[in-house]
Amino acid sequence: MQLISFLILFPLIIAAVLLVAKGDMLRNVIVVASAIIIAAGSIVLAVQYLGAPWIGFEFESPIVDYIGTAIGVVIAAAVIAFGVKYKNYLAIALAVIQVVGSLVFELGFAHGASSRIGLYIDSLSIVMALIIGIIGSGICVYALGYMIDFQKHLDEHGEAEGLTELQRKDRRPEFFALMFLFLSAMYVIVFSNNMAWMFTGWEVTTLCSFLLIAYTRTEEAVNNAFRQIIMNILGGIGFLVALYLAVAFTGTLSLERFIAIGMMRPALVVVAVGALAFAGLTKAAQMPFHTWLLGAMVAPTPTSALLHSSTMVKAGVFLLIKLSPLFAVCIVPATMVVLVGGFTFMLCSFMAISQTNAKRVLAYSTIANLGLIVACAGVATPEAVWAATLLVIFHAAAKSLLFLCVGTAEHHIGSRDIEDMDLLFDRMPRLARFMMLGIMCMFIAPFGMLIAKWATLVSFVDSNQIILILLLAFGSAATFMFWAKWLGKLSGIAGSPENVELTVHPSEWVSLIIMACIAVVACVALPFVSNIFVEPYVVGVFGVLGRDVAVDNLWLSSILAIFVFAVLFGGIGASKKKRVGVYLAGVSVDSDTRTYRNSLSGESIATSRNMYLNSFFGEQKLRPVGEVLCSFIIVVALLASGIIPPVLFL
């Protein structure tokens, strides 16, 4: 209990301190120290409650309720202020609706309604706490070095690039404060049993990501930030509706009670579940709301890493996994979640093929992976939840690693285009290996991702989700394509171009190594990860583990993973073999640069690009399909879940 409060409050205090702390040196010390403390706190918490069942902490406080409401008002005020400044009236309208709604809720409608057990902890919260505490704060450390380069670039080239004074301003104190505020809000979400408090945390993450996306204050950044906030306030309003319904039908704000009552009398909660699922879908950036996450790419890379791996979108899937037992009994919202997740997985995997921008590929793959997690949560069998939780872990580790790699590469090779990462293996040998590690962890055997996918298949088959099986089959084939060609681009080697990674900041290396270690440990220790973190939660919720996922296969994966890591970091060094040039079907002038003598005795350079299959998987083709399809599913499902209960009552 004390530890939980500490994890929630400590980042908050640090955020306040960072807001006023000036100077790189001071900031470095504060950020590194508090990152270590937060990570250590999370680990201590995990050790303390390892394998524990659901434990609630009695904690009820009207003061906290009021603080929550006050935070809601501040958020709305901030959004309205920005809305007025940038003339975005839709955002203002939504913020007004939300603040009025939550004020009415707190002061009138649900005044006094509360939850005796305010905070709780279970294995899923522990997993999330570890992700937030280690990966999240690791990203904050990474940001130290990154933001120095970022600001330097603004100071040196900003004026030439036509940026205004406002856009060039050193806003780093605000940036780091927001990062830590984000962590605090995430802890609130994963530890609150009181849904109103959870809602507060939910809204804080929305505002934080709004401010982080708009960090550069360029027109594009501001537009994308507004897109994010409009979509997420919509989701927030869904959450709010669910709060109203929860109080009205179940008379409690306790998440645990809400789920327990719902399990017994699904008709009471079906609308609320639908509304909560809607909120989860928006936050998890599922189609048609996926565009906010793509837009978030304009922000500095640490922001993207934070949004994608350990916070924000993970809040969305966390909520959906939590609701999973209810999906087992509420068919309509479950169908909505399953179909939206499934289609998002497939279509976003397809669209990732057509992207050359590394960050966009990562974004699409994040959305696709979240889709898979969301679909698993909706399927709501023990195997599916097992798979979903494992996917959350592997995705967090691998994706943060990849984002940080891309961020560092971008600063040193001046591009985030995958085609420009040609020869990265020569130019940034260590970084390229980390990036390859991240990619491998993302999608292939023998790593966790794959085991998770397999459990997903089993549960889809068991629950006769035919459409999902097909979506998964085609989607994961596409996954292979876009990762494999990126991996291929990275693995190219020619001669020895200049090594440009010597100027990478130590803080970036440290967090890269931490992320890589987490990814490696998670893969190698897969049987333990499953046994210690994931299975207790599944058993706690469903009572059973479901079909045996075959421990020996986990061990096999673990062995193969060790083999691959050994090769990646030990095997592909300098070779003793004689080196020769490539065959260019003629006279090579320089085979490292693939220059050959052409038919006019001049020199030509052979170039080759990866295949992007735009005619099949172009964004223009698939995006409208996905948006229309998923919007349709959501609208129909919400209407249906709104109509069915009254019918049942009559």
Binding site: S476, M481, A484, G488, S575, V582, T607, S608, L613
Partner: protein
């Protein structure tokens, strides 16, 4: 929690596969060349020609473009061995399919690592090939799971009837993508066993000596594994049915050679489109049938 019996089986199976698959695969490859030659009105090479080729390649000088392609190919070989071991020890079919995809990935990386324009283009096409056949492989495994009640290949020996009785559409779909998996014409887009193609040798353009020998051996092992998948459909509780399985596998393999010799190469667009349509139709229909009976 820890090492189980089936895990040991897998390791034993892998060792057995490492010993036997190259031998069987080598004979099959030799036969393939003789049969192809006969189909073209030629005599063809000796049966052991693939073995001679590999021995010669091993004796060649060690040179390399990237310095790492040999390592990647070793990985590909190791993963192929594991995939075979998992399958033939009665292990998890899905795992076997995933691990062999991993081998394909390392093969692709070996090709990319050279930065040869031909090899890169070949590797790109290889990724498209993997993408083309992967859905059907997955759906085939799912159909097997639904019919046999387990992903474990060993489960076929508890069946009263062969799995094929319930999975005819999936089997047909699998035969279609088998051509892509064996890199036979009309789907030998990334590299070809036949001389003269527009990509020189595609993926293997820059590989020579021992590295190329590894590619050959990997192809042998792959052939054995995929024919194993084919035969699996026809085996049930009676041990004698293994003979039927072998016969069907050989028939399927002869069929692939016949296709190889009778069809001109298609473009990748056509391959992708048709492979996916076949997967959707055959796999989809089969899953619907299995789900509702």
């Amino acid at each position: 929690m820890f090492i189980t019996e089936s895990f040991i089986f897998t390791l034993i199976g892998t060792v057995a596969f490492v010993v036997l698959a190259p031998i069987i695969g080598c004979f099959l490859a030799g036969l393939d060349r003789i049969i192809s030659a006969r189909m073209q009105g030629r005599v063809g090479p000796p049966l052991l020609q693939p073995y001679y080729d590999v021995r010669k390649l091993i004796a060649k000088d060690d040179v390399t473009v990237s310095g790492v392609d040999g390592v990647y190919m070793t990985c590909a070989l190791v993963f192929t061995a594991f995939a075979g071991g998992i399958f033939f020890s009665g292990g998890n079919l899905l795992m076997s399919a995933f691990v062999i995809t991993m081998a394909a990935l390392f093969f692709i990386m070996a090709a990319y690592s050279s930065r040869s324009p031909y090899a890169e283009l070949g590797a790109g096409r290889e990724t498209v090939q993997v993408m083309a056949y992967e859905p059907m492989v997955l759906l085939m495994a799912v159909c097997f799971f639904m019919a046999a009640g387990s992903f474990n290949v060993g489960a076929i020996f508890n069946q009263p009837l062969p799995v094929i009785c319930l999975t005819i559409p999936a089997f047909i779909g699998f035969l279609f993508i088998l051509t892509i998996k064996l890199r036979k014409s009309p789907f030998d887009l990334s590299t070809s066993h036949h001389a003269h193609q527009e990509l020189v040798r595609g993926t293997t353009t820059e590989m020579s000596g021992k590295t190329l020998a590894k590619v050959e051996v990997m192809h042998w092992c792959e052939t054995v594994l995929f024919l194993g998948w084919t035969g699996m459909f026809f085996i049930w509780g009676t041990p004698l049915s293994i003979i039927l399985g072998v016969v069907v596998a050989l028939a399927a393999w002869f069929f692939e050679i016949w296709i190889d010799n009778n069809f001109a190469r298609v473009k990748w667009q056509a391959m992708l489109k048709w492979a996916w349509i076949v997967a959707l139709v055959c796999g989809g229909i089969n899953i619907v049938i299995l789900a509702f009976i």
